[in-house]
Amino acid sequence: MTASGTFGYGIEFEDVVDLTAIGGIIVKGTTFQPRQGNDYPRMAETPSGMLNCVGLQNKGVQYFCETIYPKIRKIDTQMIVNVSGSSPEDYARCAACVNDLEDIHAIELNISCPNVHDGGMAFGVTTEGASSVVRAVRKAYNKTLIVKLSPNVTDIVSIAKAVEAEGADSVSLINTLMGTAIDIEKRRRMLSIGTGGLSGPCVKPVALRMVYQVAKAVNIPVIGLGGISSATDAIEFIMAGASAIEIGTANFLDPAISAKVAQGINEWLDAHNIASVKDIIGVAE
């Protein structure tokens, strides 16, 4: 699948990749109210990665339902909406709107966005905060509920268990690591809000460790992401315990990467006489 905020609504990429060859598309972060996002500059390049502080720019869930959804509902792949908010009620209101969309079977709850002040990551870094959002959304949303976890915590396992206890159907991890970069000539941090979320291959070892820990601790499926750029990377996450994977920043380097990774996984399985990806989930010692 493609990770939220890295593949738009899919249609941006249809010239260069066959969208039906991708397992699923997680469309970009959607909030109840429209948001302008943060000021430019919103990114900085870092060693094997990048920082971003987009800040959930989107036109709101109503616009999504009325204008975007009709364009994407018939794309032959799983379309999942990433939902954000500034309070449990705000998340729930947004989720309720998406609940009514016939061709959207799942949402990914973003309780881990480091780039907005009024919520997001604040919920994702405590078990209480995470629970409160999932509890509110669970009441308003009766299809598949995936919760995206923040890596900026001491104990991600306790957060994963807390959202599982509140009825999450799956957890996805990791969201970005909070970081910064400084322009020494301008004596200023490079991002408009000072900090941003780090993504790309640089975070892969941290993501893989967390997926391994969480997959051992919860009974719901784990979706792995964080720096995946190749079939080998994806298989590492699957062997660490991920039942599915998302590709994020790598879409920026190669817009066709998701289809290539899907194909690469199948080729690897074939070459090793393994019938299904299910046979290697969590096999790493």
Partner: protein
């Protein structure tokens, strides 16, 4: 209507050093005809062989030669990415995502006078723009500025397709000063101005255009990641809110921008 985007493995046909700060890469698609591209559009070039870079580099389309199936990129050596591009040799492959963004508006008729103003490496897309105008039977006027004479690039190519006026900050060629001080601006009337260059220069030209009621388009070069409108990193504040430079631009009518 947007032109279809492609991912192509271009092959370097030739590499030419223009002084020690610029490199001109002429590339071809060895497998297929290059797709249609408009002046002002750009490509996202993948940078191989550099530990320091991670993202693609947006580079404007300098020229397209449909006969030779060639596309040209003019690269200024500023960082690890451009230096890695400059290490490419004849025959090397260069993965490109193109064409991206929207181009400059073309003049509606030959009797409209169209001024193309470029500064530094920002002159690059104006060559393709002027060449396309010339093919359509229009004769553009170029006003090109640089710090010194040796930083004025591809002058012979520009002269082949239009009238060329020049400023240099040190007076080593053309009129001394900035492009906005050039006498041509006060001698001739232009019906439209297209600008690409450093931000202060573009703002100065935009101010001149507004004061004189001349339609003016500028080409922005905000930092970007994807080039496809997905990452929302390259946004510019406009009258319509934050919009992506990679898909809504890079060319904007100055009246859409919130520049004062």
């Amino acid at each position: 209507m947007a032109l279809k985007k492609h991912i192509v493995d271009l092959q370097v046909v030739s590499k030419e050093d223009l002084g020690d700060r610029f490199v001109l890469l002429k590339c071809t698609d060895p497998k297929a005809p290059l797709p249609p591209m408009m002046p002002g559009q750009f490509a996202q070039l993948r940078v191989d062989g550099s530990k320091e870079t991670f993202l693609r580099r947006p580079i404007s389309i300098n020229f397209v030669d449909m006969q030779k199936n060639e596309i040209w990129f003019l690269v200024q050596l500023v960082g690890a990415g451009s230096r890695a591009l400059a290490r490419l040799q004849e025959g090397d492959l260069l993965n490109a995502l193109l064409p991206l963004g929207n181009g400059f508006s073309m003049p509606a008729s030959a009797d409209k006078k169209h001024l193309l103003v470029g500064g530094g490496v920002g002159t690059a897309p104006l060559l393709y723009m002027g060449a396309q105008m010339s093919l359509m039977g229009f004769r553009p006027t170029f006003l090109l500025g640089a710090r010194t004479a040796d930083m004025l690039l591809q002058l012979e190519d520009f002269k082949r397709v239009g009238d060329v006026y020049v400023t240099t900050e040190d007076g080593t060629m053309g009129e001394k000063g900035f492009v906005t001080q050039h006498s041509i601006l006060f001698k001739q009337h232009f019906d439209r101005i297209s600008v690409c260059g450093p931000s202060p220069m573009m703002k100065a030209v935009a101010r001149f255009a507004k004061q004189n009621g001349v339609p003016c388009e500028v080409s922005l070069e905000n930092m970007m990641a994807c080039g496809l409108g997905a990452c929302l990193c390259c946004v510019e504040k406009t009258v319509k809110g934050n919009v992506c430079v990679c898909t809504e631009g890079p060319v904007f009518d100055v009246n859409e921008l919130t520049w004062e």
